[in-house]
């Protein structure tokens, strides 16, 4: 893997500002609810994918059970609102409760699941997911197979989407910011070290379980909150929508498509995949589920097998390659010329037992 060329900071900040401006202006420009609906869902999933990536992208432990948090947040919101008879906008005060629910689930979940090796971890997340789906179907307080519905908010129907859009935007922006901050922090460094070589990181003093669990709980809490928002947006939750087997694979696809482990990757992935998924669901031949499954599976295979590092990183590399037509001299990160006192780059003469990069 080559080090990547760094764009000047001013360009990146400028691009970010434009993006934010566009995001804020979006529902003002496109007032058609059908369009803003795409916006809301896209932003919800930007949040979900970024939250997922905060844990899975950094630690390398791929979770296929985040639907547990999403659905739990949705159900928690529904149950609390119904039991405590909360209507109107005060319902949003319940969001911290949903985050707490997500965190409370994540702790025992993580303590069990994070002790095992990576592939077993994935299996456990799948198992826990099915447990929760089963519980949602069978407990009476979750409404059984008909699920729960939310009281309607008394907003005018023409502007219904807009507040949700901005709420989702707030969450998306917040989550991405948290992800960015983590990446630059010591905590993030520990997470990434765990991903590369957990044993060695432990040997150097990194408290692996504590670090992993913290990221897991954070990721779960955020996902639960946005699940609650989602519930209120579509006004209902059922076991198969709150705990949807396709949910996690879709999120994984988003992260991989955009660039697994990067901050911008899940954002890009969600912005591409979610509107596409939504659109497919409106096309009548795709509803009834099975074609979207096949498509999801197929696209996933294509991405994982051919673009495993994600579109952003791979695209970036292609662009760089195109610019330089494969000549390494232009890349600042290429093997530097050996200085007289630094025998650090005699790669050609190394009688290396193992090769430098690939394994």
């Amino acid at each position: 893997m080559k080090g990547s060329a760094v764009k000047p900071v001013s360009v990146r900040l400028g691009g970010l500002a434009v993006l934010v401006a566009v995001a804020i202006a979006f529902p003002q420009v496109f007032t058609n609810p059908a369009v803003t609906n795409y916006g809301v869902f896209a932003l919800i999933f930007v949040t979900v994918a970024s939250a997922w990536n905060i844990f899975s992208g950094h630690t390398g432990y791929i979770s296929l059970g985040h639907a547990v948090f999403f659905g739990s947040g949705a159900y928690a919101m529904g149950i609390a609102a119904k039991d405590w008879n909360i209507n109107g906008t005060t319902v949003f005060a319940l969001l911290p409760l949903c985050a707490a629910v997500g965190a409370a689930i994540a702790v025992p979940f993580g303590l069990i699941a994070l002790r095992v090796r990576r592939h077993t971890f994935i299996v456990i997340t799948i198992a826990v997911f099915f447990i929760f789906q089963l519980m949602a179907f069978n407990f009476s307080f979750t409404g059984g197979s008909s699920g729960l519905s939310s009281p309607f908010l008394s907003w005018p129907s023409s502007g219904y989407n807009t507040p949700f859009y901005y709420i989702a935007l707030g969450y998306a922006a917040g989550t991405v910011t948290i992800a960015w901050l983590i990446r630059r922090s010591r905590f993030g460094l520990r997470l990434r070290a765990i991903r590369d070589d957990e044993d060695r990181a432990r040997g150097l003093g990194v408290k692996a379980m504590r670090v992993k669990l913290t990221a897991f709980v954070l990721s779960g809490a955020i996902t639960a909150m946005i699940g609650a928002v989602w519930f209120y947006y579509i006004n209902q939750v059922e076991p198969q929508t709150g705990f949807d087997p396709l949910f996690d694979l879709t999120v994984v696809l988003m992260a991989f498509l955009g660039g697994y482990g990067t901050v911008a990757g899940p954002v890009l992935g969600a912005l591409v995949i979610e509107p596409l998924t939504l659109w497919l669901n409106t096309q009548s031949q795709f509803s009834g589920g099975y074609l979207s499954e096949i498509l999801l599976g197929a696209v996933f295979l294509v991405v994982v097998l051919f673009v495993p590092r994600g579109v952003i990183p791979t695209g970036g590399e292609w662009l760089t390659w195109l610019r330089t037509r494969g000549r390494p001299a232009v890349l600042p990160a290429g093997p530097p010329a050996a200085a007289p006192d630094a025998p650090a780059a005699p790669t050609a003469t190394d009688t290396a037992v193992g090769s430098g990069g690939a394994r």
């Binding site: 791929i62 990576r118 099915f130 069978n138 099975y290 197929a298 996933f300 097998l305």
Partner: protein, 292 residues
């Protein structure tokens, strides 16, 4: 009550034997290729549907139909390996292949859904409804036949692994892929064939499952949940472990179903969690293969 438990235990052992066959396929795939094949569940359903089509369209007997479905599933397994799994390399291979097989499972499920619709079906033949009348309870013939067939195949796999040249290559690859390559074993071929075998057993599992349960394209999830729990409990890569865990867990579920039919499947998850808390490598782990 005692009669119910007795019946549940016997049923559990018999059905457990069939699950053992499917679990052995799954654990073999992990042992040789380091892959957790999430698609195993839905492939069982595919096998069931194949038997269904052969039975309803071509009027071929369920057991006779296996002569077609077993090679067919074997071929499908080899194709899946060749198309999707072969190209994955690197340190996170197991996690990646898990995602890939998950995606394959979704695709197969979608295709089955499209071809067969959402309605539940069940395989039937003259013997699927009949039971053997034993003192105290009835033993469905299909359970018995399925169990016997499963035992035969498990023994066949065992013989293949321990008495044939191919089997030696497989075991060598399981223990040390690099060393196997060094002594001239075509590891890719071994991998492809092993994957094929691992999937081929789902033909039998599918037929028996389909004859004893109503199923549709969605039924794969329950199956893979059980199979994953079984192979992890028995230790990924351990054949003997898969066998023991299958019989034990299915019997346990069978007994629990008497009192809690909807929640019985939770025993799998509970057992999984418990075992992983105590022994993260399952009970047998991969060492068992070396010892055999």
């Amino acid at each position: 009550m005692a009669r119910q438990i007795y019946e549940a235990v016997v049923d559990g052992i018999l059905v457990g034997g069939v699950y053992a066959l499917m679990a052995v396929g799954l654990t073999l795939i992990f042992g040789v290729l380091d892959i957790i094949n999430i698609a195993q569940g839905v492939l069982v359903i595919l096998g069931a549907y194949l038997s269904y089509s052969l039975s309803t369209r071509a009027h071929i007997d369920l057991f006779v139909g296996l002569l077609i479905t077993i090679p067919a599933m074997f071929a499908i397994g080899v194709v899946i390996h060749w198309a999707f799994i072969r190209r994955l390399r690197g340190t996170e291979r197991t996690s990646m292949t898990l995602l890939v097989t998950y995606a394959v499972a979704l695709i197969v499920e979608g295709i089955l859904y499209k071809l067969y619709g959402a309605n539940n079906v069940q395989l039937s033949a003259s013997y699927t409804t009949g039971s053997l009348h034993l003192p105290g309870f009835y033993l469905p013939y299909i359970y018995l036949y399925g169990f016997l067939l499963a035992i035969v195949l498990v023994v066949a796999i065992y013989l293949l692994l321990y008495r044939s040249r191919f089997g030696r290559s497989v075991r060598a690859t399981m223990q040390d892929e690099t060393a196997a390559r060094l002594i001239g074993i075509d590891v890719n071929r071994v991998a492809a064939l092993t994957f094929g075998i691992g999937v081929a057993v789902t033909a039998v599992g599918g037929m028996v499952y389909g004859a004893t349960n109503a199923f549709n394209a969605n039924s794969g999830y329950d199956l893979i949940s059980r199979l994953l729990a079984i192979v992890i409990l028995g230790g990924l890569g351990s054949i003997g472990g898969a066998l023991a865990a299958s019989v034990f867990m299915i019997t346990l579920e069978s007994v629990v179903t008497i009192w809690y039919p909807t929640w019985a499947i939770v025993v799998f998850y509970a057992a999984l969690v418990l075992v992983l808390l105590i022994r993260p490598n399952g009970f047998f782990g991969r060492k068992a293969v070396r010892a055999q």
